[in-house]
Symmetry: C2
Amino acid sequence: MFFHFRQKFPQLNAYWDKYLPFQKRQEVPAKTLLLAEGRRSQQYIFIEKGCLRAFLNKDGNDKTVQFFFEQEGLASFESFVNNTPSVISIETIEPSILYMLPKKYVLQLVEELSREPNFAQMVLQMSAQRQAHYMNEFVSFIRDTPEQRYQNLLKKKPKIVQRVPQHYIASYLGVSTVHLSRIKSKLAKGKSHF
Amino acid sequence: MFFHFRQKFPQLNAYWDKYLPFQKRQEVPAKTLLLAEGRRSQQYIFIEKGCLRAFLNKDGNDKTVQFFFEQEGLASFESFVNNTPSVISIETIEPSILYMLPKKYVLQLVEELSREPNFAQMVLQMSAQRQAHYMNEFVSFIRDTPEQRYQNLLKKKPKIVQRVPQHYIASYLGVSTVHLSRIKSKLAKGKSHF
DNA sequence: CTTGAACGATAACATATGTTATCAAGTTTT
DNA sequence: AAAACTTGATAACATATGTTATCGTTCAAG
């Protein structure tokens, strides 16, 4: 979480560097499960290369809630703090190179950070931004049609559409693979009209 | 936000009491718009009596995202901190008695609180809990069928089903009023089988 | 008391979306 | 190179859900 905000809060760089040595580098193949639904998150994950997804399971077929790419970090922060079982699973989509920081060090880092002068303000801003992010995802999900959401993806995050297999996209949009195909062919027809 | 945590952090009571005088009591009829989509949230709202809903508009018909009742407080916290336009609207469902604390005082209160010894820890916990809450709402929305969500409501928040007109429930579940009726009649048939 | 909203049920029909099956092309494994 | 798997498109059919319209009830405003 905190590492996302290095640009914004340069004071954090020192901490980041200090905990670098405790990160474990790991190369993992595609479809490696990194966190299973129901387990407690045990580490912070930073992606050097590759791509992951967060998803949840429903009667065998799963729903993707978020994609992650190079230079992004992730952790179920609320699972750390509340020590609750994770409601989502995390796995690699492509073969990936990851850096993992065990929970122990994350908590230790937070403890150190909490003595930084403006830590409270930072936390406020961070959580406000994260909330805004989730809120927007949620709003888009309940307000927009799958077709609109797909066009949004194309426009705002073309990287996802290019790199990620279609069935993950479908599960992210909340439709079946068949229906996503229909959406694509419909859009293609629309465009060819000139 | 912070007032939700009085039991958990009794140190907050003093602040709460201190800012009581700045709250404006207000009696409003049903269907009063308190915050319009696109505007910036200007106050913290505490409900003494009545019931509100947060919703967002989509081509004329709206989608309810949350209900609020007596003794609950609400504010678009991220709108305060980020100073961004709200993505949701808030209105009363029943005639209500509210206490409003203007944004100015909320920020002032946060400023004071940030000098509390464990403020950072409190913020961490609060935001972790809120995130968990939104996450669960989101997960339930994408994982469960409308029928399951309705049964969940019945079980976990019967108050909502009893007090809130059905079309708001329908818009909360993400279905039309007609379909909610169908769900109810189907469940009723199921139950009468003895 | 009467009138008109607001609320909720239901039917009939239209549309959106899921499911299953099949085919084809591309990749990986053996 | 052959086999197995992954990915994606498409058709046919089934189901879920939306839309519109109608009706009865309740409840508040005149």
